[in-house]
Structures are given as structure tokens and as C-alpha cells.
């Protein structure tokens, strides 16, 4: 992709906006459309765009693939862990009201935390699936597409 000057320049301008938008979708899901799932996909799209433009090796240097594998499990662990935390705090499984003195605050906290878990797992899953395909693919010349 070294000769694609236009693509590289545009990607450099777009990448920060994509990651910022992913964060917005992640944390603003309580108020507008969006949430962990959509934010995770947008995060992954940012990583995939980076790998497409600058190469998979460049992405591997920025974020080691093993980190994505770890995050894949950590996201689910955060979600299920919230359930066990509410159990230990005397509530039912995933009954977030037990997380804070005020049940409504507990619900707000719980929803934010589990959405974060969903976002981390989805972002890692999508990026890893892309990396798994990209790792098997010999580089395809432009004219062959």
C-alpha cells in the first residue's frame, strides 16, 4: 500500500475520528443509539483500516495480537464478573441495583460496566477474525482484484 498516497493520507485523517467516534458510541449508548456492540465494531474497524493501509505487521507492532486474545476473554469476564459481584453484594445475578446505595445509580453503573465488557469483547473478536484471515493471505496485487 506504500504507493497509495491518497489512501494513506485520508486514513491518517480518519483514524483519530473513528476511534473518538467509537468512544462516543460506547459511552453515549445510554442516551442515544449505540452501545457496546456498535462501539466495539467501530473500534475494530479503526484497527482493521490501520492494518489495511499500513500493513498487518504495523498493527502487530502497535497492538500485539496476544493482547487482543487476552482482551477477548477480559471483556466477557467483566460482564460475567459484574453478575457475580452483584451476587456477592447480596443481589440477584446481574441485578445491578446492588452495586450502589441508590438502586438507580447501581443500574446506571451496571449498564455502563457490562456495555464496556461487550465493547471490549466485540472489538477484539472482530479484529482477531480479520487478523486470522490476513495472516493466511498472501498479499494480493492491485490489478488482481
Amino acid at each position: 500500500m506504500h504507493h497509495h498516497l491518497v489512501l494513506r493520507t485520508i486514513a491518517r485523517a480518519l483514524l483519530p475520528a473513528i476511534f473518538l467516534y467509537a468512544l462516543y458510541v460506547q459511552w453515549h449508548g445510554d442516551y442515544g443509539p449505540g452501545g457496546g456492540f456498535q462501539a466495539g465494531v467501530i473500534f475494530a474497524v479503526g484497527f482493521i483500516l490501520y492494518a489495511l493501509i499500513y500493513g498487518v505487521d504495523a498493527l502487530n507492532r502497535v497492538v500485539p495480537p496476544r493482547l487482543f486474545v487476552g482482551l477477548l476473554a477480559i471483556g466477557l469476564f467483566i460482564y460475567a464478573g459484574t453478575g457475580f459481584a452483584t451476587l456477592l453484594l447480596g443481589g440477584n445475578f446481574l441485578d445491578y441495583s446492588a452495586l450502589a446505595q441508590d438502586p438507580v445509580h447501581g443500574q446506571e453503573w451496571g449498564i455502563l460496566i457490562v456495555e464496556l465488557g461487550v465493547g471490549i469483547t466485540v472489538a477484539s473478536a472482530m479484529t482477531l477474525i480479520f487478523l486470522a484471515f490476513a495472516g493466511r493471505t498472501a498479499s494480493v496485487a492491485d490489478k488482481d482484484w
Binding site: V41, R66, L72, Y96, E115, V122, L128, I129, A132, F133
Partner: protein, 181 residues
């Protein structure tokens, strides 16, 4: 509004026919992404913005990239099939006609008397804001009232990703080094 619906459906039909007719798989993958984007537009006209968002991001975005990634490992042209397309076409037409016939029995879109609006939905709408403090009821239902389902969905994504990694023999950085040797 009806014009937007008609335009979106017309484009959907054209895209679907093109996908069925084309033999070039690269073009088919791109058109499949377009199909998802048009579906997302239809979801917006149905006021289901959360679903539209997901469809646009997943269907129009990453799944197109995954298809292209798979395509890089495959021939670019679909092999011509030997058997005739009459029977599958007939099957699709009959099934489609049955589904369209089924819609005549459905309540009008947005009707407050529809069974779907009489079950748990009014309860969620009445309670969600007070109980969770989250203005987006969709998020409140997904993450709190239906928290078990979403935990299950996240587990499905986790397991799916692990399965794909195992099937494709992904082992982190080790792959790259083997190729370099």
C-alpha cells in the same frame, strides 16, 4: 416517506438480483455490503435506529471486509452450476408468496393495539427511566432487563471468535515468523 421506502426497496431488489446473477465474487461481496447498507436505511425509516446502526456497522462494514479477506484465499469467479435454476426459483417464489400472504394477517405497522405493544413493552416504557436512570430504553432493556440474553450473546461472540481462530490456525505473532523463514 413512502417514496423513500419505495426507492430503498427498489434498490434492494436490484441489488439482490445483481447478486444472484453476477459470477464475479468481488462484485458480489461489494453488493452484499450495499445490500446491508440499504437494509440499514430501511431500519431507520422504521425508527429502529439501534438496529440500523448495528446493521450498517456489521453488515455494511466488517462483514464485507471479512468476505474480501476470505475472497483473497479463493478464486475470483463463481463456477457455473450444471443444474437448472427453475426448481430453486419456484421454491423461493412459493415461500416468498406465503410470507407476503402472512403479512396480511399482521396488525398495521405502528398500531398501538398490536400484540407486541401489549405484552412487556408498556411495562418497560413505564419503568425504565425511573428504575435505571438511562434515557435510551433500548440500552436499558438490552443491558439490564435482558442482561442474561446479552451475556449469552457476548458469550456467543467470544466462542465464535475462538472457533474462527482455531479453524484458521491463528497463533498470534508465530504465524508471521513461519512465513518469513
Amino acid at each position: 416517506m413512502i417514496l423513500v421506502d419505495l426507492a430503498l426497496f427498489a434498490f434492494l431488489i436490484v441489488t439482490a438480483v445483481a447478486i444472484a446473477r453476477l459470477r464475479n465474487l468481488f462484485a458480489v461481496a461489494m453488493l452484499a455490503g450495499l445490500f446491508s447498507l440499504l437494509s440499514a436505511g430501511l431500519f431507520v425509516t422504521l425508527d429502529a435506529v439501534d438496529v440500523a446502526f448495528t446493521e450498517a456497522a456489521v453488515g455494511g462494514g466488517v462483514s464485507t471486509i471479512f468476505m474480501l479477506g476470505a475472497l483473497a484465499l479463493m478464486p475470483r469467479e463463481e463456477k457455473p452450476t450444471a443444474h437448472s435454476a427453475i426448481l430453486p426459483l419456484l421454491l423461493c417464489l412459493v415461500t416468498g408468496a406465503a410470507l407476503v400472504y402472512g403479512t396480511f394477517g399482521m396488525p398495521a405497522f405502528g398500531s398501538p393495539d398490536a400484540p407486541i405493544h401489549k405484552h412487556v413493552a408498556p411495562d418497560y416504557i413505564a419503568r425504565a427511566q425511573d428504575e435505571t436512570g438511562v434515557p435510551n430504553i433500548v440500552t436499558a432493556v438490552l443491558a439490564s432487563y435482558r442482561g442474561y440474553d446479552t451475556l449469552g450473546e457476548t458469550t456467543v461472540i467470544f466462542v465464535a471468535a475462538i472457533s474462527v481462530l482455531m479453524l484458521l490456525g491463528f497463533s498470534g505473532a508465530a504465524d508471521k515468523k513461519k512465513e518469513d523463514e
